[in-house]
């Protein structure tokens, strides 16, 4: 699942055209606290790195810069208040220019050269990085002003996002192309039951099944052969289950 987080409704509205079953746009409100809360609400309690291994988050929004213009993929985020730096992993070719960004708590009126300024990205990255790998935390910023926000209206921002919608779409396409889910574990409940597997045996069985898959060995056949050779037509005892496990291991590794 891809989640796009924007601070403002007017930033998020144009992005709704990308919404499908695999993509959702979330408007957070302005500032670091709102961003952190929104991420927290999106990923339910009990979420783990493992459970979110197929998720990607993107922060899209406007930013200020002295002379840079256009849309940027952020490769370094500095939180001005804490001086902490964050580095998204730049592992995908998107074709978008890159830049560093500073997240501030107040509006910046005198930006420095060659850097962008926003008010959410550091909190977005820091919060998301507790659950997601650094390559799955993407920050895209569009320069809206150079420190003077007079005349910046919601419709101006919406049209600015619309102006860059093709580039944003390309980034999303790259992310979607890499989203084929990693293979799920095989359904092995039946084997567990047949062998009366204890928790320790289940761990060993998982390992053997995975190894068999990687070496093109037919694990079902191996297990059936061993079961049949130990007790035809009857249910295995616990001790026999262990013996089957041992024999299958020996066959796979000799």
């Amino acid at each position: 699942m891809i989640y796009i987080f924007t601070a403002l409704k007017c930033e998020g509205e144009p992005l709704r055209l990308f919404e499908k079953d695999d993509l959702k746009v979330i408007v957070t409100g302005v500032g670091k606290t709102n961003m952190a809360f929104a991420l927290g609400r999106t990923f339910p309690e009990g979420s783990t790195r493992r459970s979110l291994v197929n998720d990607i988050v993107i922060n899209i929004g406007c930013c200020c810069a002295k002379s840079l213009q256009g849309v940027y993929l952020i490769n370094k985020i500095t939180d001005q208040a804490s001086s902490r730096d964050f580095y998204p992993d730049m592992l995908r070719v998107t074709g978008i220019k890159e830049a560093a960004l500073i997240t501030t708590d107040t509006l910046v009126t005198e930006p420095e050269e060659d850097v962008l300024y926003d008010m959410e990205a550091s909190s977005f990255y820091e919060t998301a990085s507790r659950l997601l790998s650094p390559d799955r935390i993407i920050t895209l910023k569009i320069v809206s002003d150079s420190g003077n926000t007079d005349g910046i209206t919601t419709s101006y921002i919406t049209s600015l996002v619309n102006d860059h919608i093709d580039q944003i779409g390309e980034v999303i396409a790259v992310l979607r192309s890499g989203m084929t889910e990693r293979e799920d574990e095989a359904d092995i409940e039946l084997i567990y039951t047949m062998l009366h597997a204890t928790e320790a045996m289940k761990v060993q069985l998982d390992e053997l099944i995975n190894y068999a898959r990687l070496t093109d060995a037919d694990i079902n056949k191996l297990i059936s052969e061993e079961i049949n050779s130990i007790c035809e037509d009857k249910e295995l005892t616990k001790a026999q289950g262990k013996e089957v496990l041992k024999r299958v291991r020996d066959k796979l590794t000799s």
Partner: protein, 332 residues
């Protein structure tokens, strides 16, 4: 599987510690990557140690970090390492991680990233070695947490260590590599330790490394220049037809290399700390080399004893048969 096709080139991004900017080696490294995006960082750990990095993806798109090592630089060798009879056996952390991507590499288990760090304050390392030498001879494995020879095209670490060893006879240098080494220094105390593997294992599990033929050519080239050469048949990796595979492999090696000229030979099967194995498996979810159902012995994942003995036996017997008995170091 993930979108590997959309991954950038190797070293598309280079992270440079601000304090590393003043070192010559930094300039030297950066000069090879004019097209890379260079990002200034405060400390290499801010990038290297980020939690939850995806090693599987990073493996196909490694980035580089250039840093100053202000921490420990030289470490005592671990018991699981072959010490070749040297008491004061150390390894240096001149760089961390490797340009190659062997599935079974312990670095995948040890570090939570595939990105490579090159430390540029080599003078500090040499000073530390000088100090250690005051207390007696030192054996230093300089290519332990990396393959330094493989990095020799972009930084001068290999020649720095060679020059130091050349002027310090009490200092024995081991440069372990799978790379194609063209230039060597012929000194008794500089050991080029070439890891050789069957071509089948190279293709399956030692990604981006030179072929067996290239490695054997490098070995012969080093021998012809009078270098001290060690052969490392380590790690031996299990495949279903390992007997045939490793027997044919020994034939190839013995045909190609004048074994009498070899200084010594190490033999060992794959072994890894159990803690590292979990990380390696996550980094290589599709590699049968690391998903083998290993036995656990003293905190290490190892092949079952019988299998281990059988695998080692093939190499040991063949090499003994070739008259190398006195040169063999076997990790049981």
């Amino acid at each position: 599987m993930c979108g590997i096709s959309s991954l950038p080139e190797v070293f598309s991004h280079i992270y440079v510690e601000k304090r590393a900017r003043e070192y010559i080696m930094t300039e030297q490294v950066l000069s090879h990557f004019k097209g890379s995006t260079v990002i200034d960082i405060e400390h290499y750990k801010d990038v290297f140690n980020r939690p939850g990095q995806d090693l599987y993806l990073q493996n196909s798109s490694k980035n580089l970090i250039i840093a100053v090592n202000e921490g420990k630089k030289i470490f005592k060798g671990a018991p699981v390492c072959q010490d070749f009879g040297f008491d004061r056996f150390y390894y240096a952390e001149s760089a961390m991680n490797c340009i190659f991507s062997c599935d079974y590499c312990f670095l995948k288990g040890m570090y939570g990233t595939s990105n490579i760090v090159i430390f540029v304050n080599y003078v500090d390392y040499l000073k530390e070695c000088e100090k250690m030498l005051e207390e007696g001879p030192v054996y230093l494995c300089a290519s332990f947490d990396t393959d330094l020879a493989a990095l020799s095209g972009i930084c001068s670490w290999q020649s720095i260590w060679e020059d130091f060893a050349a002027s310090h006879p009490e200092f024995t240098l081991e440069l372990r590599t799978k790379a194609a080494v063209s230039r060597v220094t012929s000194k008794e105390n500089i050991i080029y330790a070439f890891t050789v593997s069957p071509e089948k294992i190279i293709k399956l599990y030692e990604k981006n490394t030179p072929t067996l033929k290239t490695r054997l050519n490098s070995i012969n080239n080093a021998l012809s220049q009078g270098a001290s050469v060690r052969l490392c048949f380590d790690p031996i990796i299990y495949v279903k037809d390992y007997e045939l595979c490793y027997n044919e492999f020994v034939d190839t090696v013995l045909d190609a290399v004048d074994i009498k000229l070899i200084r010594d030979i190490s033999i060992g099967t794959f072994r890894i700390s159990s803690g590292y194995l979990q990380n390696i498996r996550r980094a290589c979810p599709y590699s049968s080399a690391v998903h083998f159902p290993f036995a656990k012995e003293d905190g290490y994942a190892v092949y079952p004893k019988k299998l281990r003995q059988s695998m080692i036996g093939i190499l040991e017997n063949r090499l003994k048969g070739a008259g190398c008995e006195s040169k063999l170091y076997v990790m049981p």
